[in-house]
Symmetry: C2
Subunit: 422 residues, 2 copies
């Protein structure tokens, strides 16, 4: 999504175009998806490739993967895995549910929230935006007051975790408000699934959207989503047909769910990898997995504070999966050079951001396989050394702060928690 | 695309959902895409996963892969690799080029040809179908006569190889006719690329569409396409904007080609694999690769003839990548059982077909990694033994016919050639 920070090859000494990938073994991709991918998941990618249209064992694997995702999302809704990036799921949900003239409420306090509004407009909706500043979480009480004066909405879009700004919304409190008003809900949980608490059915999320390359730490290439009975019904009640095939969820119902035929050839190897990633997440268990993310997020934030970096989102809304900092004014002109130095000298990749946040925000992705103490420490060491190299005066010792926070001994942080009370 | 022929697990003795994939090492997936995937390509899938948005070395790999595809297609047009199945490319081309009211000519003598017409109608085109029966190739002279009486068309769609019926159209002669009439051409070459001759620029193909899992023998998951300057211009001249993001090729021009930013996170590992597959195809060389496909196709057809199976397409239009036979009437009621037996007892997967052809056609996929003499022989042995087991009276010895044809010693075949004079 963001621009690569340099032309390639400046420091490469080898020539084969895939050598760089082999050399990643020694590096750390500490970005908010794609993340590091475990050897177990990568090995699954290398298995012999089944004919995913014809092989009944592949169909069984696909179903097992969907069942695992249901468990992760806490939903009894149908789950589908689509061949494409996470964005495919977002657009497919809108393309399949929204008709010209539909009233859509877009809850927006970040890039993806506003992007949802754009999608809905593209598909002909009459869109009302309920917004908050991008450093603040959406407020369920304000939403409740707002809805009092509104005509009915068919559908609301919301974003669980705004990856570009590292902000998690209190969707456990927002979704029930929307449900009380009879509004169908479409939630982008791409960078939240497996890192943040998520109770799709209990909170009344009709469509929950995910991607393979975020906290599940599979390679990019798959979108997945849950579709509630109410959402299927809304598609069945459309006045106009859904256009085309690739964004058409209805075909998945008619062909796959009802007849066992895929609408197009599924991505065999990517599904192998997603299965392995989901299995690993379930084996770890939800409590341990969420606590691991919480612990890492807290320690990374503590390190950032010791490094003199200002957390971008309001502390109570800081995500468990990604930390976003405002780049200090003094460093902004060199922000690309700083990240390049960190990558080339320390082998650690930190992300910038994009849209309005490009050049203003740095991000550490501590989701999935990245949420490991040793990886976090490597990131913190590289960050501290890099900032020091560029003449930044660090107010504390980031490594010490990181370790103390991991051990639960650190000073009280300005930011705490995964942002929600659930 | 077609229905799996059995519920899974009847014969499985193991339980882990990925075990079936490991066991494929001993089996032969002789279907027209997905195909067998070489160890070299599978190893590329298992490499560490780069951040495909940020890592400049990934961008370089992506460009190198596109350059390789340009070489394979013989085009100087831009090439893009999209995250999704081959169908994504077909729909993206139509969604990006077709506006309501546009006059579109759909050349159709098979499922994909007619599917293109449906796509164009979905996107608002006024569609004229120029058709031929699905066992006959499209006739360039008939097309020329047909076009004399027609008002101008903005765009024509055509299918290079109709995979469901194993038929290759003489696109080397058809494309120039369309070009003479000033018609933009969108060609589905998904199952032709790397198996059939293809000269995109010399023949005037504006958009050529491909998929990873056909004759390049990479895993399914990527679509790719070439876009000529005239096609980009047609998008720039649209009266209405292209809707959304995922099917919007214009964004690839504005973001990727012009600024080096991907519209969404590319499928890192799938691109690794496609790079390796394209590199292997180029290393083999075009003459050797096309001859290998030609030789295998001829031998498989000879074996089919000796087995008493009737070739579905007219012999001069039989594809180099896939052979389709009409299932004998006597065997049709048991066609699923026959394929299941072949898979379970002989470990060889043969495809049925779909749409109108489901239950009427069997298909052998001898494209890419499947176009190897020993794999072809294993298929032929399994086919002969299976047909014999089901009481079919084979008129000849398929293995002998296969070997003789491979050695260039066989009797004259009723079917010959890749269907085209080029």
């Amino acid at each position: 999504m963001t621009q690569p920070f340099a032309e390639p090859g400046a420091r490469r000494t080898t020539r084969h175009p895939l050598d760089f990938a082999r050399q990643l073994e020694e590096r750390l991709v500490f970005t908010p998806g794609p993340t590091e991918v475990s050897p177990r998941v990568r090995e699954a990618m290398a298995l012999p490739v089944a004919n995913s249209d014809l092989d009944p064992d592949f169909a069984e694997l696909y179903r097992a993967t969907c069942a695992g995702l249901q468990e992760l999302l806490h939903t009894r809704s149908d789950v589908l895995i689509l061949a494409g990036e996470g964005l495919l799921g977002l657009e497919a949900a809108i393309a399949s549910l929204v008709e010209p003239g539909d009233r859509v409420l877009a809850l927006a306090n970040g890039l993806y929230g506003h992007g949802f509004a754009d999608f809905a407009r593209d598909y002909g909706a009459e869109v009302t935006v309920f917004e908050a500043p991008d450093r603040r979480p959406l407020d369920p009480d304000a939403l409740r007051r707002f809805l009092r004066d509104q005509k009915p909405f068919k559908l609301a879009t919301l974003v669980h975790c705004e990856t570009p700004t590292g902000l998690t919304n209190p969707v456990d409190q927002i979704l029930p408000v929307l449900h009380e008003h009879g509004i169908l809900t479409v939630m982008d949980s791409v960078s939240a699934i497996a890192a943040e608490p998520l109770e799709a059915d209990a909170w009344h999320a009709d469509v929950v959207l995910g991607g393979s390359q975020k906290a599940l730490s599979a390679p990019p290439g798959l979108a997945f989503l849950s579709v509630s009975p109410a959402a299927w019904e809304a598609m069945a009640r459309r006045r106009t047909p859904i256009r085309g095939v690739y964004l058409n969820l209805r075909l998945w119902k008619d062909l796959w769910l009802d007849k066992g035929e895929f609408p197009y050839t599924p991505s065999t190897s990517d599904v192998y990898a997603l299965y392995a990633a989901v299995a690993a997440a379930l084996e770890e268990g939800e409590a341990a997995r969420l606590a691991r993310h919480q612990r890492l997020a807290r320690a990374i934030r503590a390190a950032g504070e010791a490094a003199g970096l200002e957390l971008y989102p309001a502390p109570q809304a800081a995500a468990r999966s990604v930390t976003a900092w405002l780049i200090p004014d003094a460093l902004r002109p060199r922000e690309q050079a700083i990240r390049r130095f960190m990558w080339e000298e320390h082998g650690v990749l930190m992300a910038g951001s994009w849209g309005d946040a490009a050049g203003r925000i740095w991000r550490a992705g501590h989701m999935g396989e990245n949420a490991r103490p040793e990886k976090g420490e490597r990131f913190v060491r590289a960050l501290a050394a890099t900032l020091h190299h560029f003449g930044w005066n660090l107010p504390g010792d980031p490594v010490e702060a990181y370790r103390a926070a991991l051990a639960g001994e650190g000073p009280a942080l300005t930011g705490e928690g995964g942002g929600r009370s659930s």
